[in-house]
Symmetry: C2
Subunit: 423 residues, 2 copies
């Protein structure tokens, strides 16, 4: 099955909005094993949308359209699709009712325009949209399937995952199953080097690596007649990946982030953690607190940007700062130790570095960061040299701090051994 | 001049990468007054790129291509463009030298593949790429202009801004000048309501609003024969906007963020600031510290997620927490006052709220946030009800905290009066 995506919206052309819908859809299609060879963006313009649609019909069996389903005059995706496919628009009772309910619930009244959203091409399948007033629409005609979805990502993504993906599975003669193996603490090239043999010999399942700041995700995807058979193909491969990367694998579930896995790990071990941050200035704390329910393990943290505050709140000695400097392994260690004591927490992670653009020297260049982790009376400190601008350095340092925190907890409380894998 | 964008890269189709290049380019083209009616994404595939390029040549005078200029066999944008336009590839001496230098500087050796990047279509203009090894290329032939740029955003955007934009200005018979009026503390609909008359009567300059979390930017764009004339058209409009929104305008410069404007304001007044954060957990601190040189005004901050830490580090009374709860105006005020005392700073901003998904009640629902700002012995507290998921609530609260901080400093130290404009 060959597909393509047409995104409709003048804001996309003007760059006011970034086309995250197309990326989300592309990712799901890849996971489903549906080839997608083209994405097109056109504005809210009937002539140009008609041209794009006619071109797409020549090439692809499955065409996704996002955007242009709103209540205003500008929104003309549905009208254009109906015209091109030779279908009348008729009112859908269920959609009219849903729009009515949507407004009632919010204590507002629909305008005349809103009822336009209840019109659908005759014979089309209506996809409910609990997040908004524009229903999705599936038109099946002349060997083509056109799937129309609303543009706002908070409506598009749930509809894609909850309604459209099951539909695509139902029309597919094979089933795709994929699983992510998420790794932290190993660089992308080291990950690739460690699985060259697996990548070279891949066929079904396929293996693909995706690099994120401080992380690498390996996605294993299999195609088979049914889900059970597909899972059976994936299982030995993820098992082998887990064997090769061992404790560096922090999760295999799609919805578990690195920070979530760390909070879970701390909860299981009934441990509390605190943070002492200089150049990252709250980013490490903020990622931990982004996890719902983090309050069981994270009670408080410190942003100690000045030397004075490192002394006052973390008890770092003036002599340590004078002799080694604020950006040094000794200071990172003293920050972590002091933070654990001040917060009365089991564990503390500290970050001190030079994020730039100024402040670098030959000996201590921009990008130099020390990260400390204090656990059980011991403190481990690691030195990093990150590249990129101020924000890139801060983000890389944040990911590295989370990774060291995870490693320290595993080594100390789960007695996991970390092999040597290049970071 | 009509243009379109072709982005080349299988990762874009697979959703591994979001197409931020097209958005960045679309934004610049809109600012330059160059119409862009279509964006296309194709994979690293000669046949499909050839088809997309031939289609584009029928429609547009100016065609931008991003991606596919790398050193591997997959990268074939340049080769395909040369073939379609009937041009030979020849080695460019300058590019060969630049590649040599790039690797020397990094202490690495170029591979044979890398020299491929020094080949350019005969007669083309070479655009230097100080950020990478793939030069940009401009092909001018048969009334068309094709502009090839490398795909990685950290190479694409600097090349676009530093090299391609001046080129586009040089081939344009008119000049576009635009200025942003950046507003915080006024909601998008209130901004639009306040300038309906200006939007309805716009022609040249045009006026467009862009909403960001907690901010609205109004872009005023004029087209004229030369820059002086364009600026003359923009000036009275931005002046009128500044008159209408007064102190709510935090900047008119493109590179000044809200946090930068606040750090500048604090520096001018020789003030120091601290933060005491509960649900935002370091996000406010992190935005302030993202500004280079923030260390003059920001010395330290507190993440006080638990009640105990609010008492211990900020001196919030147990009775206040018991009587009013952690999420209350009284607690927000006590947090701000206590943080200023603990940090010995002139100003303190505090945030306490319910970010969800759990923890909400009928009286205190998810999204309820109190923000306090302590200045000069007084403390102002504001109540907010934000919508959206946990991260959206936290981001909205962070923007509101920065906005209240700015407002408090202006009222107290610059004696600026804030009129009533709906937030």
């Amino acid at each position: 099955m060959t597909s393509e995506i047409i995104s409709v919206g003048t804001e996309l052309l003007l760059g006011t909005i970034i086309n995250t819908d197309a990326a989300a859809l592309g990712e799901r299609l890849a996971a489903l094993g549906i080839s997608c060879y083209r994405q097109t963006v056109v504005g809210d313009n009937e002539e140009r949308l008609t041209e794009a649609l006619n071109d797409a019909l020549k090439r692809s069996e499955l065409i996704f359209l996002s955007g242009g389903l709103g209540p205003t005059e500008d929104d003309l995706t549905k009208e254009t699709v109906a015209k091109v496919m030779g279908l009348r628009l008729v009112e859908d009772e269920g959609s009219r009712h849903a729009i009515d309910e949507f407004f009632k619930k919010r204590g507002r009244k629909p305008t005349d325009n809103n009822w336009k959203q209840a019109l659908i091409p005759e014979g089309a399948i209506v996809i409910e949209n609990p997040e908004g007033t524009a229903p999705g629409i599936i038109v099946e005609k002349d060997g083509h399937r056109l799937i129309l979805m609303p543009g706002p990502p908070n409506e598009f993504v749930p509809m894609l995952d909850n309604k459209v993906t099951p539909y695509l599975k139902s029309i597919s003669d094979s089933v795709i199953y994929s699983q992510n193996v998420k790794i932290c603490g190993v660089g992308e090239s080291a990950v690739e080097a460690a699985i060259t043999d697996m990548i070279d010999n891949q066929d079904n399942p396929t293996i693909a690596t995706y690099a994120k700041t401080g992380e690498v995700h390996i996605r294993v995807t299999a195609k088979a007649g049914d889900e059970k058979a597909a899972k059976k193909l994936v299982k030995p491969v993820t098992k082998e990946l887990k064997r090769r990367f061992g404790v560096y694998v922090y999760a295999t579930e799609d919805d578990i982030t690195l920070e979530q896995s760390i909070i879970d790990l701390l909860k299981v071990n009934r441990l509390t953690v605190t943070t002492a941050e200089s150049c990252t200035g709250g980013l490490v704390a903020s990622r931990l607190i982004s996890v719902p329910g983090a309050s069981d393990t994270y009670k408080c943290g410190f942003v100690t940007y000045s030397n004075k505050s490192k002394r006052k709140f973390l008890g770092v000695r003036g002599s340590t700062l004078d002799k080694y400097g604020a950006v040094s392994a000794k200071t990172a260690a003293a920050m972590a130790k002091g933070a654990a004591a001040a917060a009365k927490s089991d564990i503390a992670v500290s970050v001190t570095g030079i994020a730039g653009p100024d402040g670098g020297t030959d000996k201590k260049p921009v990008g130099l960061v020390y990260i400390g982790c204090y656990v059980n009376g011991k403190c481990e400190v690691k030195e990093y040299k990150f590249s990129g601008n101020r924000n890139k350095v801060r983000e890389s340092a944040t990911a590295a701090a989370l990774t060291l925190l995870r490693r320290s907890v595993l080594e100390d409380f789960s007695r996991k051994e970390f092999k040597d894998l290049a970071e």
